[in-house]
């Protein structure tokens, strides 16, 4: 049997590491000794291992408390509905209590990650909206909201939900889904494909084009934060100008731009500034013999 040189404790026969400080035993084998019958048996097979509960005490307590309060609310609403003899319909409040509780319970049950929590909350919001809308017996105003939620999911959640090697496909689905959203919304609101094709999608294409320049710059160069912010403002300006331009075209007007002319001037100024900024830096680096 050996002793730990650091802790001074005697180690059981055959032990080569101190369990207190993990110091390796540097002693001849006859000092370390042969392993005897261990104090603790070896690892049991997975099937024999008792399964531990998933939730700790406080989390379990909060979950049970929420469920208890939900139960009280549901029972009270049901009794009230019976007492008021049909003048009060409890389904929407009961549904709201259940869904409201579900918002809290999900946050306590699942291991919180961006994708999981946002997906669950998007689903619960869709259910809540549908439930309230169905109060009239048919779906009406909730459809555009659900479409917006689907768009949100496809653009802001799906790319992160996919494995890394499929993330590009996620981005493409997100980009295409915005165009589809315009068409679907147009169809829903006007009953025909109208402004989505003539105004929204061309404007969206201009914004995408402008942003793609920024993405290329980020990919191939190292733009400063100011450059990035100004480029995003520039893309927004192009979007506004393009919206006005395509709107005038769809109206059959001869004017090039109407109210967005001043925005176009700002956009051109920004473009010149950004171009000069990049060019001057390159020229300066060239004369300073710095590789860019």
């Amino acid at each position: 049997m050996a002793y730990c040189v650091r802790c001074g404790v005697k180690l059981e026969s055959g032990a080569t590491v101190c369990p207190l400080c993990n110091t390796q035993v540097m002693a001849p084998q006859d000092v370390i000794g042969k392993p005897g019958e261990p104090l603790f048996p070896s690892q049991p097979e997975a099937a024999l291992r008792p399964r531990a509960p998933r939730l700790d005490k406080n989390r379990k307590g909060i979950i049970e408390l929420i469920i208890a309060f939900m139960a009280i609310a549901v029972i009270t609403l049901t009794i009230t509905a019976f007492a008021l003899d049909g003048s009060f319909v409890p389904w929407i409040p009961i549904g709201s209590v259940i869904l409201g509780g579900a918002y809290l319970l999900i946050a306590l049950f699942i291991r919180i990650t961006y994708v999981k929590i946002v997906s669950w909350y998007a689903l619960l919001t869709a259910l809540l909206v549908v439930m309230i809308d169905l109060n009239n017996g048919k779906l009406s105003w909730s459809i555009p909201i659900i479409l917006s939620l689907v768009l949100f999911y496809l653009t802001a959640v799906l790319p992160w939900a996919l494995p890394k090697h499929q993330r590009k496909a996620g981005w493409i689905i997100g980009i295409v889904s915005v165009a589809c959203y315009f068409i679907a919304l147009d169809g829903l609101l006007t009953g025909a494909i109208d402004w989505s094709i003539s105004i929204a999608i061309p404007t969206y294409a201009v914004v995408l084009l402008s942003l793609s320049f920024l993405i290329l710059r980020i990919h191939y160069g190292r733009p400063s934060v100011t450059d990035i912010v100004l480029s995003i403002i520039l893309s927004a300006c192009w979007g506004v100008v393009a919206g006005d331009f395509f709107h005038l075209r769809s109206m059959g007007s001869n004017r090039l731009l109407s109210w967005s002319a001043s925005v176009a001037i700002v956009a051109f100024c920004l473009l010149i500034f950004l171009t000069l900024n990049v060019s001057v830096r390159r020229v300066r680096n060239y004369f300073n013999n710095r590789v860019t």
């Binding site: 001074g8 059981e12 993990n22 104090l39 048996p41 531990a52 406080n58």
Partner: protein, 434 residues
């Protein structure tokens, strides 16, 4: 005549057990393990026969746990008994229905060991020890050994004393006013390590004579000495973890006390109270003699029938309060979970339970090599200590839910080594080569 409880005889949980079923959760298993290492081999079929014989004598352990409308309760359980191979991680979670075929204890074995793992709602360490001693005595009898009579060994066909199944808290309850006080939160070690469901153990084996010599030189008992060393170790850890004095918290240790002798009870269900002793480090650094002095005075002033009556009153009055009594269990459960730390685990930094030197009768002491006792830690107090002694040696087992961190164990055991005590350690921690 059969000792078994009547088929429909409902047995309420005792007053200190009612907190255990609702607060079982991840890292809070509320179980303990007692084991005896024998010089003779342990055969599972013979052990099962011994268990079947002895369970007749302990009808209040042959029960299953059920949820009622107001409280949990026990009902007699008659499912076939089983013995299980011992697992390396003690004090594991025991599902009340599937854990041990509906029983609340699990008899385990290895080649030379008989162990029993018990859910704390059933009994405390003393009750568990009597059950284990009776089981091992029966196993030895079946193996051809003669075991001399002993107060803590019950024979299979003897009649249980009516007091054994009583809830002694109810008998010794004296109504007192304002028994509910709360302490400030105590220091808890930083949870800067991964937590694990597999209870990690560092087992220290110490000669009782060495400890006795050391504690006698300070005119204190072994338990008082160990408590003082634990507080000192925690003080060093806190000084490292929290350098600013004003941000430190008091260090307190919870010491379960078997109050059967104090009140004169023969109950084999829970009849233990917790004495919380400690130091307020916000007042400055305490040297070891100051700690020892504090511990000695606090412990001795607490262990008497009058002071303990206050805690008995607190346990019973809580249960008898009309709001608590008539609230449905579904509402009581979450509050018990959320408030139990405030009145329990949060006010102390760790626990040490010392069953003491166990007397083994002739015929048994020749066969039993060592005794071990393990106490489950909790999410708040991640490290617990349990001690039991026999044949001149004390097994001091530290159970922890820290996957790697052993600062507390190291500080405590190296302090004993520094004072000339020989400490032999074993572990179930992975990564420690054997």
């Amino acid at each position: 005549m059969s000792n078994a409880l009547h088929r429909d005889e409902l047995l309420p949980l005792d007053n200190s057990a009612i907190i255990y079923p609702p607060t079982v959760a991840r890292f809070n298993t509320h179980t303990f393990r007692l084991s005896m290492d024998l010089t003779i081999p342990v055969y599972p079929h013979r052990l099962l026969t011994a268990l079947e014989h002895i369970i007749e004598r302990f009808p209040y352990f042959s029960v299953s746990l059920h949820r009622g409308f107001y409280w949990y309760y026990f009902l007699p359980h008659t499912a076939p008994l089983k013995v299980y191979p011992e697992t390396p991680y003690p004090c594991a979670y025991m599902h009340r229905k599937k854990g041990a075929h509906g029983y609340l204890f699990k008899v385990q074995y290895t080649e030379h060991r008989i162990a029993i793992e018990i859910f704390h709602a059933l009994t405390d360490g003393t009750g568990g020890l009597i059950f284990l001693k009776s089981l091992v005595a029966e196993y030895l009898r079946l193996s051809g050994y003669q075991v001399a009579p002993d107060d803590q060994i019950f024979l299979p066909h003897s009649l249980p004393h009516p007091e054994e199944k009583e809830d002694s808290f109810e008998r010794f309850y004296k109504p007192l006013k304002s028994v509910f006080g709360s302490e400030t939160a105590a220091f808890h070690m930083k949870a800067d390590d991964e937590l694990t469901d597999d209870i990690q153990v560092i087992s220290a084996r110490i000669a009782i004579a060495d400890l006795k010599r050391l504690s006698t030189s300070h005119q204190v008992t072994i338990t008082e000495y160990l408590v003082a060393e634990l507080i000192d170790a925690l003080q060093r850890i806190q000084e490292k973890e929290i350098p600013a004095l004003r941000r430190r918290s008091p260090i307190r240790i919870s010491v379960p006390v078997n109050i059967r002798k104090v009140f004169g009870s023969q109950s084999l269900r829970n009849f233990t109270l917790f004495i919380v002793v400690g130091i307020d480090v916000r007042l400055g650094h305490y040297d070891f003699h100051e700690i020892l002095n504090q511990v000695m005075h606090q412990m001795r002033s607490e262990v008497n029938a009058k002071t303990l009556s206050r805690q008995v009153a607190r346990n019973v009055a809580g249960r008898r309060h009309p709001v608590i009594r008539y609230a449905p269990l579904v509402f009581k459960n979450p509050f018990m979970k959320l408030l139990s730390d405030h009145y329990g685990d949060a006010i102390y930094s760790s626990t040490i339970s010392n069953i003491g030197n166990v007397h083994l009768p002739d015929g048994m002491k020749e066969v039993v090599q060592r005794l071990d006792f393990y106490l489950s830690p909790s999410k708040t107090n991640k490290v617990s200590w349990a001690a039991i002694g026999t044949n001149g040696y004390l097994s001091l087992n530290c159970t922890s839910i820290f996957a790697h961190k052993t600062d507390f164990e190291q500080e405590f055991l190296t302090a004993l080594v520094a004072k000339g005590i020989a400490v032999e350690v074993s572990t179930n921690r992975n990564g420690t080569e054997r």
